[in-house]
Amino acid sequence: MQEPIIKKRRITFLWIIPIIALGIGLWLAYQHVRNTGATITLDFRTGEGIVANKTRIRYKDLDIGVVTGVGFSEDLSHVIVEAQMIANATPLLNEDSKFWVVKPQITAAGVSGLSTLISGSYIALDPGSSKVSRRHFEGLQQAPAIPLSEDGQLVHLQSASSAGLNIGSPVYYRGLKVGQITEINYQANADRLFINAFVRAPYDKLINTSTKFWNVSGVSLDVSTNGANLQMESIESLLLGGITFTTPTTFDTKRSSSISEKVFTLYASESATVQPPSFEKQYYVLYFDDSIRGLNNNAPVEFNGIRIGQVIDIRLLYDEKTQKAVLPVLVEVEPQRIDRVNKQEGEDNLFADLVSNGLRASMETDSLITGSKFIKLSMYPDDPGSLTEDRYSPYLVMPSRSTGISRIADGVGEIIDKVKKLPLDRIADEVSEVLGEGKNVLAGANSILNAPNMDRLGTDIVKSLEEFNQTMKSVRGVTQNATKTLHTLNNKLENVITQFEDTLYGFSPNSSLYYTLQETLSALRKTADSVNSVATKLDNKPNALIFGD
């Protein structure tokens, strides 16, 4: 019997099978991991059109991911979309990548997203240029108007109104479409609109800090003595609105600052661009003692002739406590209209500063024909004041001065006071005293003439004449005093008349006030004339006070 040769192998070669299985398993796992990209989450305001496991994420019209779940955020305020990306898509997921839901859109600017009518909406991706990877994104409400990859400059504009403008409205330069509006936001705290516009390269080089932007939406029609001027940028701008810009050569010290941070003003029209922009507004209350007839809302507030604001509200209040009617006038001033140079640190309120240096508001007549009034701000350096809290409103009160008429009234009152204070009694007393002395002298002369001893007559006469001379001297002193007083009076009156005349220019000749004032003026003139004649007479003939003409 042949002994079989048995190979003594402890371990069977078949152990290679589990090793192969392990290899295959690891390879499959590796494949799976390699093909599976990142899981991302997106925040959207609504989940419209997004379906889990159906909605895809596309880039350049190719699927790069699929939505795996749609759910609410914890506070139910927005929708969180989870998506599984493919491995190749990982470099597209960075800090400034933008996601938005593509839906069919038909606007004046064009039709887009028609394919989504059949396939359902999808989420589009615009990758940013950032190198910082990210897995959580805020979804956009609508597609960004400008792909991030496009070269150009985003400019920030602020405007009081977005009339005619919309997202997608074009930006023109010399009639050429060079960009479009990408975003319009309202900011409640500043009560204005912030508009972002994208200007494509190479036109972005045309913008610097002195560039002026204005709205060319719709049609503008100017009718003036030169005829009518109708302006319209293009039919497209008529439908879509639009803005345009120009870069004038100006003296601008801030040209070096970056335009990406500057907020430009969007003017309503080209003609408005010459006005300095003004958005910061301050409100002050003014109180005037006299009637504010002729002062209306929107009446200008001028600082030495330059308009810096307007009247925005006039009220009539009756204070039951003090039993007085008060007329607060609320004005709005734009401090940016005053260019501040050599600015000092710590000066935060221009008007507080100005008022403490004597700024006063007064009400002046603007138009002779309509009798309308305006608020005049002027500096009176000898009269420093301060802003005070208003009793009836949260605003500050700017000190005011009385207007022309009341200043005249004040002046007249002053004259009357002066006239009242004239020492007429004393003059009369002195005159009668002098007269009494004169009588005594005459009596003395009489007695001398009647005296039997005429020898003493000569010396007595001499004595009497000396006494008389003295008397005359004192009379002259008195008259000189009187003349001086009358001269001052005359000057005062002349001032009043001049002021009156100044004021009268402001009154329409037909008004009753004008007539009354005219009368007053002529009466004053008469008074002045008579005072003048008295003064002249006294000058020429001082003893006329005693002896008459």
């Binding site: 371990i11 398993g25 796992a29 799976h32 496991n53 159906k54 895809r56």
Partner: protein
């Protein structure tokens, strides 16, 4: 059980062995079966080692089988639907096919798992202190049930072959190959395992205790 120390009890102890191929009982001292000319072994050679080997293979493949997609379903106007075994079971369950879902669950998830678990138990407890009756019954059960696990593979193969047109198409995924490999590996592991080893060990143990 009437087992005595020095009395022969098994075929091997009587000096015989049966051919593993044709079942002929022959004298132990010859190496080739006189009937079918195959090598004669009293017990399956390297039984435990081979069983372990296939068991480990099946355990390794069990993960890709359940994690990787088994089908890719393409329907017009829809994104590709990717299904794993578990997701298709859940899909059926959510659509009301409870019976079908249960069958596939039992055949495709429970059975391979149960087989692997039983084999692990048998291989890690080779020296029973009591007669290994339950172990034998479990072994016979998994030996019987093994082939039925292929139901999922058949379904995918049929669907993949039948649903191939412009409106819809089903393509098998890597998972189904891994799954088939798991089933095959567990069947081999079961096949390689020799339940008589447990009885031998039990006999050795009880003889030792009696002496």
């Amino acid at each position: 059980m009437p087992t005595l120390k020095n009395e022969p009890d098994t075929c091997r102890e009587y000096g015989f062995c049966n051919c593993l191929e044709c079942g002929a009982v022959v004298k132990k001292d010859i190496t080739l079966c006189p009937r079918c000319h195959s090598h004669l072994h009293s017990r399956k050679p390297k039984s435990l080692q081979k069983s372990w080997m296939f068991l480990i293979t099946s355990i390794i493949l069990f993960f890709p089988a359940n994690l990787l997609p088994i089908t890719y379903t393409r329907t017009i106007g829809q994104p590709v639907q990717v299904d794993t075994i578990m997701s298709s079971i859940l899909f059926l369950w959510h659509h009301g096919s409870y019976a079908v879902a249960s069958i596939i669950f039992v055949a495709s998830i429970f059975t391979p798992f149960f087989k692997i678990a039983v084999l692990l138990y048998l291989l890690t407890h080779p020296a029973p202190k009591r007669p290994p009756v339950i172990q034998t019954k479990l072994y016979r059960f998994i030996h019987f049930v093994g082939r039925w696990s292929m139901i999922d593979v058949f379904v995918v193969a049929l669907l993949g072959a039948l649903v191939q047109n412009n409106l819809a198409s089903i393509t098998p995924g890597a998972g189904i190959f891994a799954f088939a490999a798991v089933v095959v590996a567990t069947m081999f592991a079961t096949e390689q395992f020799d339940i008589r080893i447990l009885w031998d060990k039990y006999r050795d143990y009880s003889c030792k205790n009696q002496s």
